[in-house]
Each structure stands twice: as structure tokens, then as C-alpha cells.
Symmetry: C2
């Protein structure tokens, strides 16, 4: 337990009460806009509040009322624009409802996630929005969170099985359907040999997107070769490095469904380094629709996930849960939308 900052003398309800000769209770009623209090006293009290520069002490109020006015937002990677926009959306909706956002970043480390969860819980958040770190698992999260605050899982599922009584809400993207849309789009453009590029095997979103890709291929009666699935870290840099793996395949693909936009942009770079023009000699799609997707050369066909809107939605879901703590847990799957741009050209031979 670390030492913390002392605070200067603050103006309290007692000061106000003394200052305009009413009781502490009356001032409290004024603050909360109670209809019980007389017009004239209300005006007097409000003047005094202004005069002394009073600021409400929410911590004290929450203690007495056994309520909370904050929500914890725990993210695996704030530096990723997708999560940054998500966070902005969360904060916007929470702020509008009078809640404050307690931020915590885990940097994809499950152990930091434990620490951050523990630390934020001490501040008594009313709820938690958690985008889990990569190897986080249900058991550990449950151990620290318990029943102390309702939890909304965002974006990723947790490893391990979660016990019966832990009914956590979920907000996920429709990864499978999105990847299916992208794949079907490439097929419609005439591609037959399509790879699935990037992402890690053990990430739930990657598995789902891959499943959507497989689904589309099989529905179209197209084969999927094992060496058409190329793993790499979901970063531009690693994607660029792994580009060559595409062309080492027995049957060289003419297009790739990429795990996300970062990977797709990295792949574009890798293609150029091999003298290929993405969007002309090779087709590809992304996932996320980050800002750069629209402005690239070529612009990137991708799936729009509207992270800001997802953030607002996540905030709504937790706040809804707060009002109905006993309602059955809810799984929301947010739709994604295919945005067709230049990168998904027809195959060169067609």
C-alpha cells in the first residue's frame, strides 16, 4: 500500500451550512435538487455555494450511499487506434451519464491485467469493461473480480471455461460473418486461390475470422490449402516480413483475406518490396477500417467496426447492467460492414 498525496483544505457542507445559517442536511437537499426545500433558502444556499467555491465530494457521497459513479475500462493496447477510438467512445457515453472512466492498460500482459484489475477494484467501480490481454483466462479474472462488480467482456473471449455462476456480459464483433463477407467478395471478383493472412492461432478473434473465411470457401466449393494460412503478429512490421510465405505455397494465391488492417497494410508493403502492386497484381482485404485504410495507396477494402460507436455501446451495456443487476447475462454481437475500396481487384489473369 503506497503513500499518497495530501490535499489542501476543502470547503465542505458544514462550511456552507454555517455560512448561511441552515443545517448540513438542508444544503445536501439543495445540492441534489430536492423539491422539499423552500425557494428562498435554496437561493441563499446556492449563493453561498458559489461564494465559497464549493465542490461536491463524490467519494464521500458514494461511501454513504454505497453507490459508485465510476466504471473501469481495462484495455490490452491503447496505442492501437482501434482501442483508442473505442476508449474515446466509452468515455463519451459514460461522461454524458455522469460516470467517470477509470483507465487501465495491460499491454497484453495477463499478469499486469491481474494487477490492474486489483488496483482498480479498490476504487470501487460500479462496473468493468475489459478487453482481455492475449493469454488472460477466465479463472484468474474471476478470482480477482468475483462478484464485486459486473463485467463486460469486449472484443476477445477469455481462455479457459468460466464457472456457472459468473454471468458476464459480452460485446463481440461479428468476426466470422465479416471475414465471410470479405472472402465472398473476393470470390465474386473472380479469385479462386485465396489465403488467410496474419493473426495468432490462439486469439479467439483470429479463429473466428478464419472460420468465416473457411465457411465462404467451402460454400463456394473452393479448396483451402494448409499453407494458405499464414500466422504472424498483428502488426504491420511482422506482416511485411511474412509476405514471402504467401509465395512459397504450393499453389500461389492471387488474393488474401487479412486478419486486420495493420496486417493488410504490412502485406501491401511486403508486396511492393517484391515488385508487386497491391490492388493490381494481388488483391487483399483488411479488418477494422482504421483511419489509414481509406487513404492508403491503394485504399483498402475492409470491414468497418465503428470502434467509437462500439465504445458508446459498451458503456450503454454496462450502465444497463447496473440498473438490472439480476437480469440474465447478455451477449451482444456487433455487426460489421464491408467497405469495398481499391485493394480488392480481380485476379490479373481474369
Amino acid at each position: 500500500m503506497s503513500s499518497h498525496a495530501p490535499i489542501g483544505r476543502k470547503v465542505t457542507l458544514n462550511d456552507i451550512a454555517a455560512g448561511c445559517d441552515v443545517s448540513r442536511a438542508t444544503v445536501s437537499l439543495v445540492l441534489r435538487g430536492s423539491p422539499l426545500v423552500n425557494k428562498r433558502t435554496r437561493a441563499r444556499v446556492e449563493d453561498e455555494l458559489r461564494r465559497q467555491g464549493y465542490v461536491y465530494n463524490r467519494a464521500a457521497a458514494n461511501l454513504r450511499r454505497r453507490s459508485s459513479s465510476s466504471i473501469a475500462l481495462i484495455l490490452n493496447d491503447l496505442a492501437n487506434p482501434f482501442f483508442a477510438e473505442f476508449a474515446a467512445g466509452v468515455d463519451e457515453a459514460l461522461g454524458a451519464a455522469g460516470f467517470v472512466t477509470l483507465l487501465g492498460c495491460t499491454g497484453e500482459s495477463a499478469s499486469r491485467e491481474q494487477a490492474v484489475l486489483g488496483s482498480l477494484l479498490e476504487h470501487g467501480p460500479g462496473g468493468i469493461i475489459l478487453s482481455p490481454a492475449e493469454h488472460s483466462n477466465a479463472h484468474d479474472v474471476l478470482a480477482v473480480v468475483g462478484r464485486r462488480a459486473p463485467l463486460l467482456l469486449f472484443n476477445r473471449e477469455l481462455g479457459g471455461t468460466l464457472p456457472e455462476f459468473a454471468h458476464w456480459d459480452q460485446l463481440m464483433l461479428d468476426n466470422q460473418h465479416g471475414a465471410r463477407l470479405a472472402t465472398e467478395h473476393l470470390i465474386a471478383r473472380g479469385h479462386r486461390r485465396i489465403a488467410f493472412f496474419g493473426g495468432h492461432h490462439d486469439s479467439s478473434s483470429c479463429r473466428q475470422r478464419h472460420a468465416g473465411y473457411v465457411e465462404a470457401m467451402h460454400t463456394a466449393r473452393l479448396r483451402t490449402e494448409p499453407d494458405w494460412r499464414i500466422e504472424c503478429a498483428p502488426t504491420r512490421l511482422d506482416a511485411a516480413h511474412r509476405t514471402s510465405a504467401l509465395f512459397d505455397a504450393t499453389y500461389v494465391p492471387t488474393a488474401a483475406v487479412c486478419y486486420n488492417d495493420a496486417v493488410a497494410l504490412g502485406l501491401m508493403l511486403g508486396l511492393r518490396q517484391r515488385g508487386l502492386r497491391p490492388g493490381q497484381d494481388f488483391a487483399l482485404t483488411g479488418f477494422d477500417d482504421i483511419a489509414e485504410a481509406a487513404l492508403g495507396m491503394p485504399s483498402l477494402t475492409t470491414l468497418s467496426t465503428a470502434p467509437h460507436e462500439r465504445g458508446r455501446q459498451a458503456a450503454q451495456l454496462v450502465m444497463q447492467r447496473l440498473q438490472q443487476p439480476q437480469a440474465a447475462s447478455h451477449q451482444t454481437i456487433a455487426p460489421v460492414q464491408l467497405v469495398v475500396r481499391e485493394s480488392s481487384c480481380p485476379p490479373p489473369t481474369a
Copy 2:
């Protein structure tokens, strides 16, 4: 004052005390690792804490101790990767020191900034890190913050004069020097007609960068034409649109110092749309060194500001201030570093 979420029954010090037959005070001492308490009782208490799944109530402790364990972080634009990385850095350093980050986004609106400041202050943060919205001014900020928490200004100065007694700390980037370095670099490459592209006149960082540019030009005895300064919003899109203004100038420039990376990337796009190859037919530099700068086509010569590191630094500065509330206010100017990449080619005729 809005209604907030009720909280389930919590385990308190009293529960623990009753559970292992000691007083509340003793349990409190155990929690804070006091040497006063006997080994055997400490062990007993610690067992009981675990058994009942106790979590510390920091709000109650802070109330009694009149201390704070949180810092407010108020940002004008979290969706901007520069600020997102900054926020991650702040949270990392704060978390390591046992503080929690109260997040607030203003979306470049001065009135929302007022509201957010007011709301966060009610939670009694120990300090505030503020990256002001564009038209925010010292008077309004002072009115709501007052002496209630020490403030660290980041990245932008506030409009208006700030009164004598409000001694706020500052952490700024060395904008002027950075722009000067970029301009000198272009001059050394042989450019003579260099424009300053992007940003808004009334932003302090833009003024400073422009001043650095002018300084370098004058030191090299080069002229600066009025129509070599082109204003636009600091976004890719607007920068792309304003590209033509460069070529409407009486003396068409061969290079441009851009307000930031976003603008530079937008300008690249605009150049390509005119059939010019950035980094070959026209040279340009950015500012910020965002992730995409290194991976662009061509890669972008720019000024590295290390936003993550700046975030950690900002956190350190506030925490330092908390320990010495009376020390004189401090202005820190963080160095920036020129990163030379492909976009700053020599002029085509040279």
C-alpha cells in the same frame, strides 16, 4: 447530480475483525504493514482477509486521510495516435506508483473541457494533466480548477493570460527547434523554396513550429513568401485537399515543412493525385513520428517526440509536484529528434 449504481454487500474491516477476534484498528494496521502488530496476529488476520475475499476501500481511506490516489488525465483528442500513446505512457507510470488514471476526453471543445474538469474534480484527483482543447483559455480553466489540484499543462499553451498566483507546471515539446531542424535539413539538401504546410494559425504549437521554420530560413538568408504558408486542419483529409494551394504560389516551392505527420501523409496523397512522386519530385517533412511514418511509401522524414515516454514524464512531473506542493512551478521542454527518411529528397533540378 445524476443517480448512480448501487453496490452489493462488501466485506469490511469490521467483518475481518469479527472473524478473527481482533479490533478493527489492528486489521487496519496489518493492511498497512505496520511493524507494531505481532507476527502471530498478523498471520491470523491475513488468513482471514484471504478467506473472506476482502478488498481495500480506497475511497473510504482517502476520505479519512484526506489524500488522493488518482490523477485526472484530460485530453483533447484520444483518437489521435499521438495522444493515445501519451495516455498509455501516463497510465503506465501512474499505475506503477499506485495511482489510478481518471480519463476525460474533450474532443477539442472548450465547453466540454469545462464540464469534464468539473466532473473529474468531484472525484478529488490529486493532480491534473491537461492537454487543452483548441480554444480553451486560462481564465476559464482557472475558474473551475482554482487551487483544488495542481495542474500540468501538456502540449499546448492556454489562450489568455494566466493570473500571477496560478503557478501551473508545463510540459511542452520543443516545437520551434524541431521545425528549425527539419527546415535546416531541407536547406542542406539543396532546397531554396520551402513552404510551411498545414496547422491552424491560432494553435500555439503551430505558431512555434512556424517560428522555427522562419528562423532557419532567415538564418540561411532565404526568403519566405506569404503564400508559402498554407493553413489547413491537422488531418490527412484536409491536407490532401489543400495541396493545390502549394502550386498556386507565385514561386512554386520544391519542398514543404509540414505541421505534423498527419498533414504530411495527406500532402503525399495530394501530390500523387497531381502526378507528383513525394520523395522524388517534391520533398517534405512531418512532425510526431507516428507509427505510419516509418512504413509509408516513401517513408517520412519527421521529428520524433516519443509520446509514450512523454506520458511517463508527465506522470512523473505531477507526482513530483504532489510531493512538493510549494515548489516553484516548472516548465519542461522535451527535446525532439530529427529522423531522416526517404521523403526529404534533394530538389529534382539539383
